[in-house]
């Protein structure tokens, strides 16, 4: 545990954040002490709902209108907590700046990058437009955006997610800040982009000597960039200290649990004698992009000539960055999208069948989505959601039987069947994903396509869901098509892995072959960006 020194730039003491809601007061942050020294990177780690973002938002005076704060936030010997906005703005956005998770929505789509960068300098900094533009260009160079002269004139939609996040960082750096608060800045990005952004942040910090507060749920990132760590749980700091100490000798059981939550293990192989359940031959999906009147249609090949076969009980992991076509492939296999090629399921050809002809097969092939918030109908009870499939596939069941089956399915995913009359919004993310799994299990499927089922979940919850999926596979001899960008989870769950890039298979093989001896550069790059931290952790653990 380090104490405050003269080098401390920002210190938070006894910070309490309460939210007044219709159902009572929610204590989001309960007396937190955090400080950061100049030139230091401090990580605040915790799962969603631990209050890590709210603590920082409160310090910056950015809380929702029903938030109440108490405590002290000291910057340059001044308590900035609860300052009126005008006074606060002399610090906020100048000396203490923030970057957020969502680079897609943080930029105004109607203005060019240059204008968005220059405007605050003109309005607040009193620079002329010309000087501001020049500074903006300089900033873009600083954050290593390729072709800054061209990018300064582009609109946000012309930039990729990583580039937008770089612009956001450039914006945060405009006034030469002392403290940069980064709230999950890489969560929405691909692993390789994430690695680049982290490198950029580390590099900038070294050059500019500012303090960085890094809010994240990803221990890999912490391990990689932080000097000190605060672990938060339900609004309190349960442990803090040097990064190396925390990782090697975690004192608090919660920290230990977080560290243990990295998915591990290996899937026992399936005997070669197992029957081939699914076979895909030369599957391609093309989207026609509207280019305008009288112009030749532009065709995008989202999935390009992919073949594989799956035995009963096997898991095929499909890995790739966003836009690589892995989700599209999953949907094409289920015949939810028009695709060319041949897909054979249980000896029956399913490609080219219309919806009515597919209906009988839908029972045996199911899909689980990434977002447990979006995949459950908000106005139906959990019981109704789970038993809906039975309405379609076993219409002879009475309402009582359906209810009974829903209860069994809930028990299978370790949820209390008493809760079946509640609505999805009353459940947490992990519980919702369990409900989504129960919805597919109630039909007793053969093949389940899992489209990033754990990506939206916290690590500890993720681990539970992975265990649940493993158990279900063992019990019912299920076959999984596991789509994910998270290599650690894929490694723990799959027999074979397929790496996709821009619709094509870059490399395919058994888990061990791919992870131990990757052949292609792209695979190596992916593994490097994602696994570096985890390998380090394995060494230390």
């Amino acid at each position: 545990m380090t104490t405050e020194t003269s080098k401390t730039v920002l210190a938070i003491k006894d910070l309490v954040v309460d939210f007044e809601t219709a159902t009572g007061t929610v204590n989001a942050v309960r007396g937190v002490e955090i400080h950061v020294n100049a030139g230091e990177t401090v990580a605040i780690v915790g799962e969603s709902g631990s209050g890590k973002s709210q603590a920082m938002m409160a310090a910056m005076g950015l809380l929702a209108s029903n938030g109440r704060t108490r405590g002290e936030v000291t910057y340059e010997d001044r308590n900035i907590l609860g300052l009126p906005i005008r006074k606060l703005n002399s610090v906020r956005g100048r000396k203490i700046t923030m970057i957020f998770q969502e680079p897609m929505t943080s930029l105004d789509p109607l203005y060019t990058i240059g204008r968005q960068l220059a405007e605050p300098m003109v309005v607040h900094g009193g620079l002329s437009w010309k000087a501001a533009k020049a500074k903006a260009l300089e900033l873009l160079r600083l954050v290593n955006i390729p072709e800054p002269e061209r990018k300064i004139k582009s609109y946000p939609y012309e930039l990729s997610g990583g580039q937008r996040q770089r612009v956001m960082i450039a914006m945060a750096l405009a006034n030469d800040p002392d403290v940069l608060i980064a709230d999950e800045p890489t969560t929405a990005l691909d692993v390789t982009t994430q690695a680049q952004i982290l490198d950029l942040l580390a590099d900038l910090q070294k050059r500019l000597g500012m303090a960085v507060i890094f809010i994240t749920h990803d221990l890999g990132i912490v391990r990689r960039i932080a000097d000190r760590v605060y672990v938060m749980k339900t609004g309190e700091v349960v442990e803090s200290g040097e990064t190396a100490t925390i990782f090697t000798q975690p004192a608090h059981p919660y920290t230990r649990m977080l560290l243990d939550a990295e998915p591990t293990g290996h899937k026992p192989p399936v005997p070669d004698s197992a029957q081939v359940l699914l076979e895909a031959q030369k599957v391609s999906v093309e989207f026609e992009l509207d280019t305008g009147f009288l112009q030749p249609k532009h065709v995008l090949r989202a999935v390009d000539d992919i073949s594989f076969s799956l035995r009963r009980g096997q898991t095929l992991g499909i890995v790739g960055e966003s836009g690589s076509g892995k989700s599209t492939l999953g949907r094409a296999i289920l015949n939810l999208l028009p695709a060319s090629g041949r897909v054979v399921f249980q000896g029956q050809q399913i490609s080219g069948r219309d919806r009515a002809a597919m209906r009988a097969l839908r029972k045996d092939m199911q899909l689980i989505f990434q977002d447990p918030f979006g995949s459950l109908s908000p106005r139906m009870t959990v019981g109704q959601i789970i038993s809906e499939g039975l309405l379609v596939h076993e219409p002879s069941l009475s309402a009582r039987d359906r209810d009974l089956r829903a209860c069994q399915a809930l028990e299978e995913v370790s949820l209390d069947p008493v809760m079946r009359n509640r609505y999805p919004h009353e459940f947490s993310g992990g519980q919702r994903q369990r409900i989504a799994i129960a919805r597919t299990m109630v039909l007793k499927p053969e093949l389940v396509v899992l489209d990033e089922p754990t990506s939206a979940l916290d690590r500890t919850i993720q681990k539970q869901v992975v265990e649940l999926l493993k158990d279900l596979q063992k019990t019912y001899d299920l076959t999984y098509l596991f789509i994910s960008h998270d290599l650690a989870v894929v490694r723990a769950l799959s027999d074979t892995v397929m790496v996709m890039q821009r619709g094509k298979v870059v490399e395919a093989g058994t888990v061990d072959a791919i992870f131990e001896a990757p052949k292609s550069d792209y695979t190596r790059e992916l593994i490097g960006a994602a696994m570096l931290t985890q390998q380090q952790m394995m060494e230390t653990a």
Partner: protein, 374 residues
């Protein structure tokens, strides 16, 4: 690890989003006050005409355009002239006239024999009742006539035909509210089904269905109503059809827009992947999730329909006499504004407070159903 988990003792019966919305609505003071006002107006419209001492179509010829008043009619100075004119009509001469409290006593005489039935002339006046002849002289040429003064209250005054405005305002409320409600229900049911189907099916079907809507949009509304009236004559049901048939177009567009975004939601894709039929998806997933904006739109549509009906009635295409609606009353009131302002004021108060209340409720509902809070 989220905060929803902390409350494990909660009852097994879940709170739906509707429950939450209702709580938020009830916390909104303007909306609750508006609901009370609306309920009061509705109750007055339903029970007012029954409880009122006047019929909405009874004509009081002696009380044409009398101002609204809390005290009873006839006024003291009206009694004698009215009695005299009634006596003249009965062809008797009034020799002496005296008012004793609530009765009038007069000595009458005539050059011919007085027919006992001539008291009817007195009764026929709205001011008197129970007229009777007493003390008929031997030659039957003179007698004493007694008549009770018939006191009546016109709290809202009377109209140009001498009908009680209060009862008429209440009965007009029945008509206006019924039209507002029924036409809205018609518009909403057609609009929601049409819009959800069009939006969900998408593609060419969507194009065709929405172009049909566009074509209907381009028909002038008044032309449409006049055609209907020409073909089917004026009647009450026609109003629903005419108004409903036009207003569903907006609804269909709103619901289609909602559906387009809902159908990309993962729960719809999940249902598709499960093999649920189109009908099931529209019914179970799409429509329930569009209902939020629909309910809000409904509260705004009711006043719109009431105003439309007023407009049609104003043009003479709506409700037929002696039935009436707020729109008819207001248009009559507007014609008699000089000298008989009460004919405009009272129906206007009712119409505007209804519209205000509905708009406030719509506002409250929009806040209550706002998904931003979720």
């Amino acid at each position: 690890m989220t905060l929803t988990l902390t409350n494990n003792e909660a009852p097994a019966k879940g709170r739906s989003l509707w429950d939450d919305a209702r709580d938020r609505l009830l916390a909104n003071r303007a909306a609750v006050a508006s609901m009370i006002v609306l309920v009061l107006i509705a109750l007055l419209s339903v029970f007012g005409p029954i409880l009122s001492s006047h019929n909405f179509d009874t004509v009081y010829r002696d009380y044409v355009k009398v101002p609204a008043s809390l005290s009873a009619y006839p006024r003291a100075d009206q009694v004698e002239p009215a009695f005299m004119s009634a006596a003249r009509r009965a062809r008797v001469t009034v020799d002496s006239y005296a008012r004793e409290g609530d009765t009038v006593v007069a000595e009458i005489s005539s050059s011919r024999e007085i027919d006992p039935r001539s008291v009817r002339y007195i009764d026929r006046s709205d001011l008197f009742r129970n007229a009777e002849l007493t003390g008929m002289s031997e030659d039957k040429k003179s007698a004493t006539l007694r008549a009770d003064i018939n006191f009546m209250h016109f709290y809202f005054g009377t109209d140009a035909n001498g009908r009680d405005m209060m009862t008429r305002t209440f009965i007009a409320g029945r008509v206006s509210l019924t039209i507002g409600l029924l036409a809205t229900v018609v518009a909403i049911s057609i609009g929601v089904l049409y819009g959800a189907t069009s939006g969900y099916l998408g593609g060419r079907v969507d194009q065709m269905m929405m172009r049909a809507v566009d074509i209907l949009y381009s028909l002038p509304f008044i032309f449409f109503v006049i055609m209907l009236v020409v073909f089917f004559g004026r009647n009450f049901i026609l109003m629903f059809i005419a108004v409903g048939a036009v207003e569903w177009l907006d609804m269909a567009r709103i619901v289609r827009g909602q559906t387009l975004s809902i159908k990309r939601q993962e729960y719809v894709q999940a249902a598709e992947a499960m093999g649920v039929s189109d009908r099931g998806i529209v019914r179970r997933h799409i429509i329930p999730n569009t209902l939020g904006p629909v309910v809000v739109y409904m509260t705004l549509l009711v006043p719109k329909v009431i105003l439309l009906e007023s407009f049609l009635s104003f043009l003479g295409l709506g409700i037929q006499e002696p039935m009436t609606s707020w729109g008819v009353l207001i248009s009559e009131g507007a014609r008699n504004l000089q000298g008989a302002a009460w004919m405009l004021i009272f129906p206007s108060i009712f119409l505007t407070s209804t519209l205000f209340a509905l708009n406030f409720i719509g506002d409250g509902l929009r806040d209550a159903l706002d998904p931003k809070d979720r």
